[in-house]
């Protein structure tokens, strides 16, 4: 609003921001190319850092000779594992990784030394001068091989290379199977996949030798964890460290833990008392990995005649890579999230996270849930078909009734899945079309869900889950200060909208500063879809506290009680006849005596949502709210080439409340699309542990040509604890695509695909097998 215009209080009303589709607040910088990403901060005196990587998969390090590299003119520093004082890792119980390998290398591409030099050519020459002597050890590239009898352990504490075995047995599983009319078992294989976010990893570290301080710019989803790991590995006091997260080109979980690059840059900068910039190539970004593991799931399910699930028994094994990373959490999620989508009373689970000589896996969008959901929804569909039941009806037979606690004590307060099912059933014209498609065409349905932040944080400190500050000063502009990392998911926009809504102000009055440890409050980071739910609630709290301050100031000026003051955003007044005070006038009144105002808001999860203690690790999966999605996929298959064309996707997502429908729609489309990549084309492959698909030609992310029309529907179940009723919007719609696709293939070809991705060669092989089988059985029939 123009500050010079006289205000007519009759016409003033609070500005609506929530539920309004609006472009992202950081959009202009990004679309105009002005936004600075980590690699864009090129300081004049910055040195170039490069990392030397292990050429072998598993070996004892005998020596790393760096003298010749150090002697090369232009080389300022060379570091090895000896330059660090501690290991890193996201889980306090599993900090097993050195920023640069010490004593042993465990996968091809693991850093073994790094160089800072005046220019990149010199840095590369220096790397070539480093002599690496090693003694090779047996290497394991599959979970099966790594767990075999008599193996050489990758880590001393894990003699059989099982990083973590998780088990639970809840309800009466055996009785559940006894009660079943139909019991079926299937095995499902998912290939390893990588996030392939737009921006490769990068870090810039600047060391101030006078003050022994370090500033690190990092392309990370978790600047706070980077801060902690810099402290831990460099042995510097945390008060001397500053971490800044600039604009980020996507994360999807690839940067949900601190990576080598930030720590190596830090060590180099300190050693040369200067600034070091490291930008990883795409291949190095693939090697850094932290993607979704290769996973084999054997699932046994019991079902009553009418489609009710009576028991579930899941055994799943993940090829985790050489280090723990988030692995324990991944294998726990795979188990805990068997629940909370359907009403399941009896379930058994055995999950194995296995250490192998491949790059470490991590927390890929839909963390831990996707591959098990693929198995579950596939088997459920096959059993429905066998029982002569419609896939929708089987899912409806197993719905939860919220509010409730699941058999593993997950708290479910809002549950829009029934509506999601209704919507996609109708939108896809399922009832009329299912089973009546033309040859080589099919329809498939699947459901999926996800958490809105983990109720127990990885690093338990006793602080609130989220803190937001709002600064208000003489100019009447508001600045949100938050540690919540905007990584392209739109968190800055959502927080701005939350604050704007509470105060009834237009979003243009508000600016936001994110993720600079010097300025912004600490935040755990952008992962497990926690930001909208947790930081959104903290932003609402902060704005509410600010509103109280402003209302009290206005009351003092107008000489009325605060409860008599009406906040109309740009005007505060006492009664509808009152001329009122402009927002600026209220701000001046509020600053009297106190000066600049900082209002703080917090959010904490409630203990009931922590997941209980029914088995070891049961806290993983505990969340204040679960989001839900259902999707129908329609496909056409080319019989000559076995190419699958996705004709259309109908998806409905229960996000509680769409704070910004435009952004929610984008998140749903992105999830569907990413699920499509995993389902159809994406796969990291290794040749003796050497990543053979570490580029964007051989690792096939779908292109816009493959992108199907996606019809998104938003379901609003209004979660009682969510910010304005909101839940997560960016993950749940991913997992459903995989089984919806293979269920559609089953509809089209009467073939169950249980191995992903369904590349044309894989599908054609299965089609051929089926043809051969049916020819054989015809012959047998004829013979009989």
């Amino acid at each position: 609003m123009n500050e010079n215009m006289p205000i007519d209080p009759e016409k003033v009303e609070p500005v609506k921001s929530i539920g309004v589709p609006m472009p992202l607040v950081d959009g202009p910088e990004k679309v105009s190319g002005k936004a600075n990403y980590t690699a864009d901060f090129v300081e004049k005196d910055a040195l170039v850092g490069r990392i030397l990587r292990s050429p072998v998969s598993h070996a004892e390090i005998l020596s790393i000779e760096i003298a010749a590299a150090e002697a090369l003119p232009g080389v300022v520093a060379v570091v090895t594992g000896e330059d660090f004082v501690g290991q890193f890792g996201v889980l306090p119980i599993a900090r097993t990784e050195w920023p640069i390998a010490r004593d042993r290398v465990r996968y091809r591409g693991e850093p073994i030394a790094a160089v800072a030099a005046v220019e990149v050519e010199t840095a590369q020459k220096a790397l070539d001068l480093i002599e690496f002597e090693y003694e090779e050890l047996p290497a394991y590239f599959t979970a099966e091989d790594a767990m075999a009898e008599g193996v050489t352990p990758l880590h001393e504490k894990r003699p059989n290379n099982v990083e973590r075995h998780v088990e639970y047995d809840l309800g009466e599983v055996d009785k559940g199977f006894e009660d079943a009319a139909l019991i079926r078992e299937g095995t499902y294989d998912c290939a390893e996949v990588c996030q392939v976010q737009t921006e490769p990893h990068a870090a810039i570290a600047a060391y101030d030798g006078e003050r022994d301080q370090i500033t690190v710019h990092a392309s990370t989803q978790v600047p706070y964890y980077v801060h902690l790991m810099l402290e831990q590995t460099l042995g510097m006091p945390r008060s001397k460290i500053r971490v800044i997260k600039p604009h980020i080109g996507g994360g999807f979980g690839s940067r949900t833990e601190c990576l080598h690059v930030e720590l190596v840059a830090g060590a180099l900068a300190r050693k040369c008392k200067g600034t070091v910039r490291i930008t990883l190539s795409r291949e190095e970004t693939f090697i850094t990995h932290r993607g979704r593991p290769e996973q084999k799931t054997t699932l046994k399910m019991g079902m009553s005649k009418d489609g009710r699930i009576t028991a579930v028994d899941t055994t799943t094994t993940q090829r985790g890579g050489a280090y723990a990373g988030y692995g324990t959490v991944t294998i726990l999620y795979s188990g805990s999230m068997v629940f909370a989508l359907y009403d399941i009373r009896n379930a058994r689970y055995n999950g194995y996270r296995v250490l192998t000589n491949t790059p470490p896996c991590g927390a890929f969008r839909g963390h831990g849930t996707v591959n098990v959901r693929f198995a579950f929804e596939s088997l459920m569909d096959d059993m429905a078909t066998e029982l002569g039941l419609d896939p929708f009806e089987v899912r409806r037979k197993n719905l939860l009734e919220a509010p409730t606690f699941t058999a593993n004590d997950l708290m479910v307060n809002s549950y829009g899945l029934p509506e999601c099912l209704d919507i996609v059933e109708k939108a896809s014209d399922w009832k009329k079309r299912k089973g009546k498609m033309e040859p080589f065409r099919g329809l498939g349905i699947a459901c999926s869900h996800y958490v809105s932040g983990a109720s127990k944080p990885v690093n338990w400190t006793g602080e609130p889950h989220a803190t937001v500050n709002i600064k208000l000063d003489f100019d009447g502009s508001l600045t949100i200060l938050t540690g919540a990392p905007e990584i392209g998911q739109g968190s800055s926009t959502i927080l701005t909208q939350c604050v704007a809504e509470v105060l009834g102000l237009d979003v243009t009055r508000i600016r936001i500063v994110t993720s600079d440890s010097l300025v912004t409050p600490k935040d755990n980071g952008a992962y497990s879809s926690r930001v909208t739910y947790m930081v959104g609630n903290a932003a609402i709290d902060a704005a509410t506290n600010l509103k109280t301050i402003l209302t009290e100031a206005a009351a003092r000026k107008m000489d009325v009680q605060p409860e008599d003051v009406e906040c109309l955003g740009e005007v505060y007044r006492a009664g509808s006849q009152d001329q009122g005070m402009t927002f600026e006038e209220v701000v001046y009144a509020a600053l009297e005596g106190t000066g600049t105002i900082t209002a703080r808001g917090n959010f904490d999860t409630i203990p009931e949502s922590w997941g209980g203690d029914k088995y070891r690790g049961a806290a993983i999966g505990g969340s204040m709210a679960f989001s839900y999605a259902a999707q129908v996929v329609e496909i056409a298959i080319d019989p000559d080439t076995a190419d699958i064309h996705v004709e259309k996707v109908w998806v409905a997502h229960d996000c509680g409340k769409a704070l910004n429908p435009l952004s929610v729609e984008g998140q749903i489309e992105g999830s569907v699309w990413m699920g499509m990549g995993q389902a159809m084309t994406e796969e990291t492959r290794y040749h003796n542990g050497l990543g053979i698909t570490g580029n964007m030609l051989d690792y096939r992310v779908p292109t816009i040509i493959e992108s199907p029309p996606i019809e998104t529907h938003i379901v609003e179940s209004n979660d009682p604890h969510g910010p304005f009723g909101a839940k997560e919007a960016g993950e749940a719609s991913l997992a459903g695509f995989l089984p919806a696709l293979t269920n559609a293939i089953a509809d089209a070809l009467d073939i169950r695909v249980s191995e992903l991705p369904t590349t044309p060669d894989r599908l054609m092989e299965i089609m051929e097998d089926k043809k051969r089988e049916s020819r054989k059985s015809e012959k047998e029939k004829a013979g009989a």
Binding site: V56, T681, L690, I692, N695, E706, P760, M764, E765
Partner: protein, 326 residues
């Protein structure tokens, strides 16, 4: 993104100067669009001391039409080639092939000559320097072994250009220019069955012009390639088909394949179908013949048997399509 080596850049304005520079300059390579070659340079596969940039050579940018046919300069971009109505109408497969190369941005830089002279490709070759070194290199570049067929003595890297098979079915010819003169040869003659050394072109010779003879332009032709994604991907298998029919009988059938051999393969023995009525059985026989001459190896992530299988299916489908169209 890996390092570019230090190199001298030459920008000649005519063909004679280009070939002279190439002959005089040690370690020089020609560069046109660079969409494939620069990637190899960054990966350390090529380390040229000098690049001779052909983008300012006017003769190479032109498409000339005369009584003999179309004469296409080697530096004409794939985008221009695909958009040329004369090519679209008279040499349809060639226009379709140009449109099938990688994605639109590559087509706007990539050239006819570059696509015809494309280096052969293999999963174990098109990797970074660190990768190849960690894998002991391979016989195509610095090493002794073949990772595709260990123990073998031959290189099976696959020729993966799209334009060549399309031009082959139109009996295309090319001009090769060197410091000692110019010669015109059949396009088929510039290739050989050797993944390490698939171009039968003398060192320093420049492929200057692609001739598409008018005599071959009257019949319908078409091109299709199998790939996992609808854009960006090199062909897993590709086929161009040219068909001359009288009534429902085949007069002459030509099929050329790409990505299933170290060179673009003009399918042999198709003359046995001359005078034969084109029905389903004959189409199956054609597919079988195509498959039997395709020899894909494990040079991509997609299984060789599939590529063999699908190249037959594509040839069959395209033949049927042309037959119905005429």
């Amino acid at each position: 993104m890996e390092l570019m080596p230090d190199f001298d850049l030459h920008r000649p304005t005519d063909v004679e100067e280009a070939v002279r520079l190439r002959a005089e300059t040690e370690g020089a390579l020609y560069v046109a669009g660079g969409t494939d070659m620069i990637v190899n340079v960054r990966r350390g596969i090529e380390q040229p001391a000098a690049l001779i940039d052909l983008s300012s050579v006017k003769e190479l940018q032109e498409i000339v039409e005369d009584d003999d046919g179309l004469h296409i300069g080697a530096a004409v971009t794939l985008e221009i080639l695909a958009g040329d109505t004369r090519v679209q109408e008279s040499f349809t497969a060639v226009a379709e092939a140009a449109t099938a190369v990688a994605g639109p941005t590559h087509q706007s830089y990539g050239t006819v000559g570059g696509n015809l002279c494309l280096d052969t490709r293999c999963l174990f070759y098109n990797q970074s320097e660190w990768w190849r070194k960690s894998n002991d290199y391979c016989m195509k570049e610095r090493g002794d072994i073949c990772h595709v067929a260990p123990g073998g003595k031959r290189c099976f890297a696959a020729f993966s250009g799209d334009v060549a098979p399309a031009a082959l079915v139109h009996k295309a010819e090319v001009d090769l220019v060197s410091a000692t003169g110019r010669r015109r040869v059949s396009l088929a003659d510039i290739y050989r069955n050797d993944g390490m050394n698939h171009l039968a072109i003398e060192p320093g010779e420049l492929l200057a012009v692609l001739h598409l003879p008018k005599a071959e332009s009257g019949q319908p032709s078409t091109y299709e390639k199998a790939r996992v994604r609808g854009s960006i991907d090199f062909p897993l298998a590709g086929a161009a088909v040219w068909l001359n029919q009288s009534g429902d009988k085949i007069e002459e059938l030509r099929i050329a394949l790409t990505a299933v051999n170290p060179y673009p393969h003009l399918v042999k023995n198709l003359d046995k179908f001359s005078g034969v009525k084109l029905d389903d059985n004959v189409l199956n026989e054609i597919a079988e013949m195509v498959q039997s001459q395709a020899k894909p190896m494990r040079t991509t992530t997609v299984k060789p048997w599939y590529r063999r299988r699908v190249v037959g299916a594509i040839a069959r489908r395209l033949t049927a399509k042309l037959s119905q169209a005429s």
